[in-house]
């Protein structure tokens, strides 16, 4: 096992390499491109025995990935943001084929307006697609989760494609010390893929399912896919145990940090959760019993685990790096759904939305989130969702708007593009 500095993108590429990927359909998009560049370089140097094909769009890329998976080989691909959305039609389609493969999504905020920096609205759009989702918090988790994702997707109790999600910039371009598992050990862990009845072959045409179904058989297939996805909880936990035994790193479905005796608990996804971890440590130094729950597994949603881990807590602060327009935070709504009616459910469940388009969430903001949550617990009253935004940010926004106004006036009045 070698410990070296790797970006999240480099880690994703290592995951694909160690899993013995056979085929990689690809299409570039910032901030994901480094993954396919790294794989292309290895294939070029004969360090990796795989076939890479650059497609003309993500729509084709997802189709090619699933078609290849339906021939019983191991497939990996990667995308981000608008790319994931462009492939969205096929995302929903191919999960119904029940042919597993691994798709890395490097989270990036969606247009318009455009940004290159991360939030989770892109991967949330794939929430109901039938792809399972593992969310990473460190570069180490990216490499390990990619291996876990192949095993999980290929498990006979599941057989569905899996998304491994990592945040753009904060993981994709950030180097951290990463232990690269030994190639033999990784290969042993992932194992040989048994495609069972998946057997598309060149020169022997067969059809994939039937064209149109009525509601009853349609429902059967949809329900079966849902139940397969739900099996992901059990399967993932088995795999995480096996992984921990073999590699010494624990990646359980929900990462519980200092939660046992906590009364206030942060709940959030992704790389910014390490900041919440730092905040928990600082809050503990002042005697506040804070904790953090971070779902690694987002699909299937580990509702039962959440109910268990949050039983008897006083206040929960859900921090969403996504926004469902006209509703609010997606994780908040899902957690509320999981907890509702449970006699042990915490009385106060608060929603905070922040970190959109890479906006920072400072340590001080985590402290304040804890303080607001404690106040809600004491007053037995839940405040409305807080959209994290400061006075200073609005000042900077006003400056941009002033520049835009000057520009608009200038362009509209002068009709002359030259600025003197």
């Amino acid at each position: 096992m070698t410990r070296k500095l790797l970006t999240g993108n480099g880690a994703a590429a290592w995951g694909a390499r160690l899993a013995g990927t056979d085929y990689i359909p690809a299409f570039p998009i910032t901030p994901q491109t480094e993954i396919i560049e790294t794989l292309a370089d290895w294939i070029d140097k004969d360090e990796m025995d795989a076939r890479m094909v650059t497609m003309e769009s993500e729509h084709s890329m997802i189709t090619a990935a699933a078609a290849a998976a339906a021939s019983g080989i191991r497939v990996f691909s990667a995308t981000s943001s608008q790319g994931l959305l462009y492939g969205m039609e096929m995302l929903y389609t191919v999960s119904g084929w029940r042919a597993p493969f691994v798709l890395v999504n490097v989270s990036r905020g969606l247009s318009a307006p455009i940004t290159l920096e991360p939030d989770h609205n892109d991967v949330m759009a794939a929430r109901d697609s039938g792809f399972l989702q593992i969310h990473c918090s460190t570069c180490q988790e990216v490499i390990d989760s990619t291996l876990l994702a192949f095993r999980m997707g290929e498990d006979a109790r599941i057989r569905l494609p899996v998304i491994v999600n990592l945040d753009g910039f904060y993981l994709s371009f950030t180097r951290e010390p990463v232990e690269i598992p030994d190639a033999e050990a990784a290969r042993r862990f992932v194992g040989e893929y048994d495609p069972e009845n998946i057997r598309f072959r060149a020169s022997s045409p067969v059809s994939q399912a039937v064209a149109v179904l009525g509601g009853s058989p349609y429902s059967y297939f949809r329900y079966e896919t849902h139940m397969a996805a739900q099996n992901g909880i059990t399967v993932y936990q088995e795999l995480a145990d096996e992984f921990a035994e073999q590699f010494g790193r624990k990646h359980f479905a929900v990462d519980a940090y200092r939660c046992d005796d906590a009364d206030i608990v942060f709940v959030m996804l992704g790389s910014f959760a390490t900041k919440a971890r730092a905040a928990v440590d600082e809050l503990r130094k002042t005697g506040q019993k804070a904790g953090l729950l971070r779902p690694r597994l987002f699909r299937p949603f580990p509702a039962e685990l959440f109910r268990k881990l949050l039983a008897g807590k006083s206040g929960i602060a859900v921090i969403d790096q996504n926004i469902s327009m006209g509703m609010g935070g997606v994780l908040y709504a899902e957690l509320a759904g999981a907890l509702y009616g449970d006699p042990q459910a915490p009385p106060q469940l608060l929603s905070f939305i922040g970190g959109l388009g890479g906006r920072d969430i400072s340590l001080e903001e985590f402290f304040e989130i804890a303080a607001v949550t404690r106040t809600a617990v004491n007053e037995k009253r839940t405040p409305p969702p807080q959209l994290l935004y400061t006075e200073q940010e609005l000042r900077e926004m006003r400056k941009l708007q002033a520049v835009a106004r000057v520009e608009r006036d200038e362009l509209n009045n002068s009709g002359d593009m030259k600025h003197d």
């Binding site: 904060y170 730092a278 440590d281 600082e282 903001e365 402290f367 000057v406 520009e407 362009l411 600025h419």
Partner: protein, 310 residues
């Protein structure tokens, strides 16, 4: 925990500098995090890169807002708000600038009470600029005081391995020279503790007011946009037309300009220097070689001298 930020322009090697420093820390046994922030993703545009190093795993993430050390490869970035050079600077921060001027001038100009240091004067020379990343990380390593000369060398050799021995040797020479030149300031960088949960500055959260789409839509409905964003400041080289040599072809330079920054009036091309990013495509394309590439810095100094004289 050490928190270090490198500022430069796209193409100056700030990402590589941050990686070299990150690797040097890692070789010294530190936990490390290093990352670039690309901004406009264009050569010449402001970029920065940052490094965190600690004796235990690092949970802090994202842009550094409390820098212990700021390294500026190009002093023209200091007054550019989008570059964010001054973000989070305070009394404990060490500011290291590549500049022709002395530290006292910058101290006075910025009204700062932190330590300001300058890179060796020769780093500013045109031929040395392509090694500015090596110079920056070499100097930074010495200022930190916890990175040995050996580990710096090893880090450079590892990070530049794919570029071959010649490139490695040249960068090593600059980095080690800068390292040695900072002898008098060895270990001057001080870390600062992170925010304390019992006594912290409350974030000044507001309830964002609703504003009608007329104001809050991200649109500028106009024939062009970004006129007010002077992308010309990304330029490190300036194309200058020699009208004696220009054969008034009226189209080559203006057609090839990828930014639409050359327009032709009465068969005479004019360059919009507010928006020319200095890509030098016009210089390459002009058939009679009538466009010359001039150092932006020198051109600005000449302009200043002319203005002062008149």
């Amino acid at each position: 925990m050490y928190r270090i930020r490198f500022h430069g322009r796209g193409g100056q090697g700030m990402k590589t500098a941050s990686r070299i420093l990150g690797t040097a820390f890692f070789l010294e046994g530190y936990e490390v995090q290093d990352a670039p922030r690309y901004g406009a993703e264009r050569r010449g545009a402001p970029i920065f890169a940052y490094v965190r190093a600690n004796d235990q795993p690092i949970n802090e993430r994202g842009v550094i807002t409390q820098p212990d050390l700021i390294i500026v490869a190009d002093d023209s970035l200091v007054p550019v708000p989008a570059a964010g050079v001054m973000t989070g600077i305070d009394q404990h921060t060490v500011l290291l600038i590549n500049t022709d001027e002395d530290a006292g001038t910058w101290k006075h100009r910025l009204n700062l009470d932190c330590e300001i240091l300058t890179l060796p004067a020769e780093a500013k020379e045109r031929d040395e600029l392509r090694f500015i990343g090596a110079t920056c990380c070499g100097a930074a390593a010495k200022l930190l005081g916890v990175i040995t000369r050996d580990k710096l060398q090893q880090a450079i050799t590892e990070e530049l391995a794919e570029l071959g021995n010649d490139v490695i040797e040249k960068n090593l020479a600059r980095a080690l020279h800068a390292y040695d030149s900072m002898q008098a300031h060895e270990g001057c960088v001080q870390t600062t503790p992170q925010a304390d949960a019992s006594d912290y500055n409350k974030p000044a959260w507001i309830d964002l007011p609703f504003e009608a789409a007329r104001i809050s839509a991200p649109d500028i409905h106009a024939a062009a946009n970004s006129v007010e964003i002077r992308t010309g400041l990304w330029r490190t080289l300036r194309p200058v037309i020699d009208y004696d040599r220009c054969n008034r072809c009226w189209w080559v330079c203006s057609t090839f300009c990828p930014d639409g920054a050359i327009k032709v009036v009465d068969q005479t091309p004019e360059i919009d220097y507010d928006h020319c990013k200095g890509c030098m495509v016009c210089v390459a394309q002009c058939p009679p070689h009538a466009i010359e590439a001039v150092s932006e810095q020198q051109a600005q100094q000449q302009e200043l001298a002319q203005e002062t004289a008149s």
